[in-house]
């Protein structure tokens, strides 16, 4: 991570400006059978941003990406790429390139020819083409298998070639449709970081589609969480995770404890746990949410000197290596999930059956919509 952060601060190679900006206005796509895949979406993506469309399968994220690429035509709404209207621009004239989920490498061409395909179609002459393909292969460390057939590559190699094939065209926007979903966990983590470095270095806009919330958190500058053809929340990674707007976003991005609330006095709400002190103003929210890792654990004998402290009994403890997840039964038969980092000696972690005191700090309680 240390090294990655350093690389990410290198200045981008190509300039930004409005080139690579994307604007969607009221974009709608209805499939035959009246399924509204994408419903009235407004979205602005900044130049040079690593932007992620996150959501469960069938939420419309891939359809949205395909409309930006030009493979699908919106039934309503406007798409602007670098400020230009895309309504009448076919896929082959758009300055965007796609990394497909299946990679879609041409099986009858070798790696080099695959990467050079776009340049060849645009009529870039052979010597110039070779120069650019070679430079891209060096950047992506593809050299050793340059002349191999696309069918003879491993998953990771394919992914690299697919990315190189898109990047070599120097597109204004790179679209990535779950490009890592077919890889095993270790390779996936490596390629996530590699992809991120490449994006920061080249300074192109990346739009990344995934259903993996962890991947979205690791990679993105900003995330749009989608569900049922609508965007539920857009924002920087930190905001979307720490301050989810509604229950769907909270639950899709990691674990959460959610309780219905009724307001009592200012900065106090009534829940099934009892009265909670909250830091945020209510503003019509009807649910209280707290992330498991934000729950503090104390021995049962600790004095309850602060608000939002509740006694409970550990009912389940799931050891996950770096952290342990606990299920705590509170006094009024309510359960709450907590996660504690295993930074203490092993004997100091909590065992099932042990009585504990937990604290929900007011500033960690988010008030959200259903």
């Amino acid at each position: 991570m240390e090294q990655m952060n350093r690389d990410m601060h290198e200045p981008p190679l190509s300039g930004a400006g409005t080139l690579g900006a994307i604007s969607l206005r009221g974009v709608t796509r209805v499939f035959a059978g009246a399924v509204t895949a994408v419903n009235q979406i407004d979205l602005d993506i900044n130049p040079g941003e690593f932007f992620t469309l996150l959501g469960p399968s069938g939420c419309g994220k891939t359809t949205l990406l395909r409309m930006i690429a030009g493979f699908e035509t919106p039934d309503a709404g406007r798409i602007l790429i670098s400020g230009r209207e895309m309504q009448d621009v076919p896929a082959h004239r758009r300055a965007v390139n796609t990394v497909f989920q299946s990679y879609a490498l041409f099986p009858h061409l070798n790696v080099e020819q695959n990467i050079g395909f776009g340049l060849r179609m645009r009529g870039v002459k052979a010597p110039e083409r070779k120069k650019r393909v070679d430079a891209m292969m060096e950047l992506m460390q593809i050299g050793p298998f340059a002349t191999r057939s696309a069918t003879q590559l491993s998953g990771g190699q394919r992914q690299r070639v697919a990315l190189a094939r898109a990047l070599v065209n120097e597109p204004e926007v790179v679209l990535l449709d779950e490009p890592l979903s077919a890889l095993d966990a270790k390779l996936r983590t490596e390629l996530q970081i590699e992809l991120l470095r490449m994006q920061k270095r080249l300074g192109m806009t990346f739009i990344f589609v995934t259903h993996d919330q962890h991947e979205a958190l690791v990679m993105s500058d900003r995330i749009a969480v989608m569900s049922k053809g609508k965007i539920q929340q857009v924002g920087p990674v930190l905001d979307v995770y720490e301050k989810p707007r509604n229950a769907f976003v909270a639950e899709f991005l990691g674990l959460s404890n959610i309780f219905a609330l009724t307001p009592s006095t200012a900065h106090k709400v009534q829940t099934v746990l009892g009265e909670l002190d909250v830091a945020e103003p209510l503003q019509g929210a009807s649910l209280a949410m707290i992330r498991p890792e934000k729950i503090w654990f104390y021995p049962a004998t600790t004095a309850r000197e602060r608000p939002n402290m509740f006694p409970g009994v550990v009912r389940e403890s799931i050891y996950m290596g770096a952290a342990t997840q606990y299920r705590i039964e509170l006094a009024n038969a309510q359960f709450i999930t907590g996660v504690e980092t295993n930074n203490k000696a092993a004997e100091r972690s909590w065992c099932p059956g042990e009585a504990v005191l937990i604290e929900l700090k007011p500033e960690n309680i988010m008030l959200i919509e259903p």
Binding site: A91, H92, T98, S102, A104, P107, F117, G118
Partner: protein, 304 residues
């Protein structure tokens, strides 16, 4: 001898029995009706002919000289012309079949899946009728008094007393029509498995129109196309019915030439030699085609 050993022996005998009962009948069939007659034909080609055209001793290479065009009257280019015409007719008919088959296959694929088998059936249906009958139908279509011939007359493409049939164009059309299903079916099989993501990748990488087809669809349908070319070109090359009915005397092809040696003016050794030469060229053609298709397709699993 250990019991295990016996067990293995029994198993081996069973295996052999299974092998013979399954592949045996086929092998016998091929021996009786393909290998033995072919060997007979091979032999006949090296005999002399008597006055009635029957093969007699002594052995001779005269039939092959006849094939090359030598006769009592000296050398004549007739056979070579017939051979080249056969090649040309088969080639043009194959090209025509390709040009017709591609749009048709993609039209069928663009229909709902439930309708596709029916449409394919319509393609195959005519071949349930005898080839002679269908070729007569073409004679009606292209004959001197048919509308298509009138059209050709009024455009001054054809002298008014002639029809489109008999003639080379009629033969080409007849051949293309007759063997079209054998192009469509393998092409359809390939096109059905088409990976459309590759076509999208092509569009994404700035290809459109003919270029898109050539770089994304064509390579994927190549295995089917190559099978189709073989299924069409080889029978079209040796076809007898179509040139006999639609070609008349002016558009004779090798199939008609061979049949004449066994029916009209019998000369069995000459006919056998012609057949051998035709087979040899077909075989050579297949080998060349295979090398060519390996280079093109790379998979080596095409066609033959």
């Amino acid at each position: 001898m250990s019991p295990a050993r016996t067990q293995a022996e029994v198993e081996g005998r069973r295996q052999r029995a299974r092998l013979w009962t399954t592949s045996g009948p086929g092998l016998v069939w091929i021996m009786l009706f393909l290998l033995i007659p072919s060997a007979g034909l091979l032999a006949i080609a090296f005999f002399s002919a008597d006055d009635y055209g029957n093969p007699v001793l002594p052995l001779s290479t005269q039939p092959f000289q006849q094939v090359a065009g030598f006769s009592l009257l000296g050398w004549d280019a007739g056979n070579i012309a017939i051979f080249l015409r056969s090649l040309q007719q088969a080639g043009i008919a194959t090209l025509a079949a390709i040009v017709i088959a591609y749009p048709l296959v993609f039209f069928i694929l663009s229909r709902p899946p439930a309708v596709r088998p029916l449409l394919l059936l319509f393609v195959i249906l005519p071949s349930w009728t005898n080839q002679v009958v269908r070729t007569y139908a073409w004679l009606e279509l292209l004959g001197p008094n048919a509308p298509l011939s009138w059209l050709a007359h009024s455009l001054h493409l054809l002298p008014p007393e002639l029809g489109l049939a008999p003639g080379s164009l009629a033969v080409t059309s007849g051949l293309a029509y007759n063997y079209l299903p054998y192009m469509i079916v393998p092409l359809y099989a390939s096109a059905e498995k088409l990976d459309w993501a590759l076509v999208e990748a092509g569009r994404d990488l700035y290809a459109a129109g003919i270029k898109l087809f050539w770089h994304t669809v064509f390579p994927q349908t190549l295995p089917g196309l190559l099978s189709g070319v073989i299924f069409v070109a080889i029978p079209a090359f040796g076809d007898y019915v179509v040139p006999a009915l639609l070609g008349g005397d002016k558009a004779m092809m090798i199939g008609s030439l061979i049949s004449a040696q066994f029916i009209e003016t019998p000369d069995w050794p000459y006919g056998a030699a012609l057949t051998l030469i035709m087979l040899a060229f077909t075989g050579l053609g297949l080998v060349a085609f295979r090398i060519f298709s390996r280079k093109l397709g790379g998979t080596g699993e095409t066609a033959i």
